[in-house]
């Protein structure tokens, strides 16, 4: 079992800082983009963490997506 975590900080001025943990590969960026989809705000800075460049087991990702879709 793997835990994926996103930490969202909403600062006093309304700006936000988001960081993923346990999400490997470029999908982490996609996840954040998806999360921010409904918030109409410009992203002014992005920084890749070491996890971004880690290899991803595509088979596992598909499996996970299916589970999420099923609401498990």
């Amino acid at each position: 079992m793997k835990e994926e975590k996103i930490i969202v900080i909403i600062n006093e001025d309304g700006s936000m800082e988001l960081e993923t943990k346990g999400i490997k590969g470029p999908v982490c960026e996609d996840t954040l983009n998806e999360l921010l989809e409904d918030i109409e705000e410009e992203v002014i800075e992005t920084k890749k963490t070491p996890e971004y460049n880690q290899k991803v087991n595509v088979k596992n990702i598909n499996k996970n997506i299916n589970k999420i879709k099923r609401g498990k």
């Binding site: 835990e3 996103i6 900080i9 309304g14 999360l35 409904d38």
Partner: protein, 180 residues
């Protein structure tokens, strides 16, 4: 040998002159632009008459420095008639001092009112800025609440559980989901 001559302050303003006379408890009546005092000399009432924009004191020339006699003509109680200034020169000197004093009072009043106006202006500006700040604050809190709501809704759709804490004005949301 040198000589210094000093003229009195010209009485150019009727209101100031009247205030000075009031302050000195001098009785007078107004006749058009002229101010008739109740001081009497050989030729009648002494008066301030407006000539070329200045109030000049009209009186019998012999009354300039004389401090005697007039009470003899018009009654024994000279103080009632002349106040503390029996001669015209004494009288004019007293009026001049009070006239200048009244002008100073006017200037000080203007300064005071200017200060109060400035304070009022500052208070109004402060009130305006406070309202502006309140509006910004209201919008800020509204935006943060809205962002929290959107993040929560989206996170839920994406299968995350959300834990929220607030520390030092910052909202921290930890979104967690478990995958296999």
């Amino acid at each position: 040998m040198s000589h210094i001559t000093k003229t009195k302050t010209p009485f150019i303003d009727k209101k100031l002159l009247i205030k000075a006379l009031d302050k000195l408890n001098i009785n007078y009546s107004l006749e058009g632009e002229n101010i008739i005092t109740d001081r009497k000399d050989f030729y009648g009432y002494q008066k301030f008459i407006l000539i070329n924009g200045k109030y000049l004191f009209q009186h019998d020339s012999s009354a300039t420095n004389s401090s005697y006699g007039w009470s003899g003509y018009y009654g024994s109680n000279w103080q009632k008639q002349f106040g503390d200034w029996k001669s015209v020169s004494e009288f004019i000197k007293a009026v001049t001092i009070e006239y200048s004093n009244q002008y100073k009072i006017l200037q000080e009043r203007i300064k005071e009112l200017e200060r109060l106006a400035e304070e009022k202006k500052i208070k109004e500006e402060l009130e305006r800025l406070r309202k502006e700040q309140e509006e910004i604050e209201r919008k800020r809190l509204e935006l943060i609440d809205n962002n929290k709501k959107l993040i929560k809704e989206k996170a839920k759709k994406m299968g995350y559980k959300v834990k929220e804490t607030v520390k030092n004005g910052k909202v921290k949301m930890v979104l967690v989901r478990r995958t296999y």
